[in-house]
Symmetry: C2
Subunit: 378 residues, 2 copies
């Protein structure tokens, strides 16, 4: 259940109550696609980085180790020893971005596994069944994620099918939650808005799906080839049509600036692989902007990545040492970098919530909307 | 300064006093070749795994990031934020095992870097200078490590040169330690015994080098192609010729059984990449023997790797989860596996010391000398 605590313009400060604990929003979910944060941060460490919600993936976990195995081990949370809430992505995006030889019909999608090429079928019911086995806190609806640009005709057809799929997801999830053998009878379902970059289709689709009884709604199909201006325009256009009593989740976005901007438009939930993926290449996010640690000027720099940062990398190691580790491709380097970047993203959300609580969000937003996208100078 | 606390047969329980803290022996040094444990355990975590001494490598650090950089950053211990003692290997072994196009003369070795092919020269003086820049607690002498088998003629020639090199190492280290600009004026030097698999040459060489004023002596050139029987025979033959008032270090060895056996012969120091290298492939060491976690029978096993083990992997995660991580090549998997294996090796040494302290080492040795080499059955 979503509780709106405070509003500043369109920006919302809230709490989302779940059976696995409260989520303070706006929130950034930390991505552990295969039930582990890529780069070497385990779930014990994740707690210390300020993570509230872990995000895993239906498609990946279905293929390996298998959702039935995870069910037998007590569900995804017990499997990876994470006590807090978990959101599972539906597999829709991955089926369309990773799998090969896919064939889409009204029933669902037939595709070849990216691991061993074996043939797999996934539709709304299968996605719900897998997510029910995973027993996540929040399940995502199974949708078609269209690459941008796409023709208006295709987008319209696809979003109508995604709407019909959402109804099937809802029915299947109701059936599964009522099953006495289910691991999480309170599993929630978020619907996903699609419609490409066509404002009217986006609004039309949002108006359709909001009539389905979901626990939250996401904007999907962004950060998939469109411009940043298109992305912001769509959020701006869709947001007023989203229910105010339910959380809004902008899927797969984005840079610290993108997140700050989207909070300003009224978004509550985020996820992105950017902090982990960038970390592995030595790209760090800080309150003064971005820095790449492999730069020669950091070779003898005894300072931490960011002065005052309380992450394990900054509390214990110098830029010089971390630069060496990243260049030598030592795993400890990527581990420290991932820890810093996740800490930064989680801390960014904490500072955003503080600003909303304290009534100075607009000032905070104006100050950081440019700084966070710049290059660190010192 | 080495203090012998207790002896049980040939096995020795001692303390090695250094300016960077006492080392309780027998001890296993945890290998961080490039100033980091491979697989993702940082120096903060290393403390919690019972590690007493970290071991880094002269050859690797000279090439990257450069020993002068590390000197400028305050030495290897400050660079990697490790307060305890550090032993640096001399680079001899790596020059002979990793570098290409090497040419050996009385002066030293000219070779091509394995990173960028650039031409490098290293002799006894250069190795001491680099290790002085690294400012480790213990420096190793620069020697030639011969592959087994080798002809008697070549081994004799080589070990005589290694002896002459040791004298040059001693002189150079004395000069460096007296330099007012040196970071660690108390840097210690260990000599290295060579002689291939020829018992008489081994003894002859040991008798030569023990006259050089070293802080400890190592047996080098083992675990490089000879049989386990040859290895044990050489330790058996050389050990009585090693000074009793100085620590003895068996370089690059080995399995838990090898270590237990060598302690039984009177060895005090060990190092090996086995716990880290095996971990990355899902091979775990336990008190019931070895196990490979990728085995199908562990797919749904909710137990920890080893019941009762206090390492971070066993305290928090199941065999099922760790198996999944190793199979999915998630870094968290190798990180947990490395943590377990290092914890096991350090714990093995602790239990060996306890057995020596408690006067039941022979019983301990008889019990575990076979078990530790077996396959876990459950």
């Amino acid at each position: 259940m979503y509780e709106l605590l405070k509003q500043d313009g369109r920006a919302r400060r809230g709490v989302f109550h779940t059976v696995h604990g409260d989520i303070q929003t706006p929130v950034f979910m930390n991505v552990g696609t295969c039930a582990a944060i890529k780069g070497g941060v385990n779930t014990m460490e994740l707690k210390t980085l300020g993570c509230q919600v872990e995000l895993s993936n239906t498609y990946h976990l279905h293929l390996r180790p298998g959702d039935k195995l995870i069910r037998d081990m007590g569900g995804i949370r017990k499997f990876m020893n994470w006590e807090g809430p978990v959101l599972t992505d539906s597999g829709g995006f991955q089926v369309f971005s990773l799998a090969k030889l896919r064939k889409i019909t009204e029933e669902g999608v037939r595709f070849a596994s990216h691991i061993d090429g074996s043939r797999v079928f996934m539709g709304p019911e299968e996605s719900m069944q897998i997510q029910s086995n995973l027993a996540s806190t929040i399940a995502m609806a199974f949708d078609e994620c269209i690459e941008n640009p796409a023709t208006r005709k295709y987008v319209k057809q696809s979003m109508e099918r995604t709407y019909r799929w959402l109804i099937r997801c809802r029915e299947e999830m109701d059936r599964l939650n009522a099953d006495p053998e289910t691991l999480n009878p309170h599993q929630m379902l978020f619907g996903i808005n699609q419609g490409g970059t066509y404002d009217d289709l986006r609004v039309e689709h949002m108006e359709m799906i909001r009539n389905v009884n979901c626990d939250g709604f996401a904007i999907g199909g962004l950060s998939v080839g469109e411009s940043t201006e298109d992305m912001y325009r769509i959020i701006d256009v869709v947001e007023p049509h989203m229910p105010t009593d339910k959380p809004r989740y902008l899927m797969g976005v984005g840079t610290p600036c993108n997140i700050l901007e989207a909070v300003h438009y009224g978004i509550d939930f985020f996820d992105c692989v950017m902090p982990t993926r960038n970390a592995r290449h030595g790209n760090f996010f800080t309150w003064k902007g971005k820095m790449n640690i492999t730069n020669e000027k950091y070779a003898r720099d005894a300072r931490p990545i960011e002065e005052g940062c309380q992450c394990p990398a900054c509390r214990n190691y110098s830029r010089s040492y971390i630069r060496h580790l990243i260049r030598a491709k030592e795993v400890v380097g990527s581990q420290l970098a991932v820890a810093h970047n996740l800490y930064f993203y989680n801390d960014l959300m904490q500072k955003i919530r503080d600003a909303l609580d304290g009534g100075y969000f607009e000032k905070f937003y104006q100050k950081y909307r440019t700084i966070l996208g710049e290059r660190v100078e010192d």
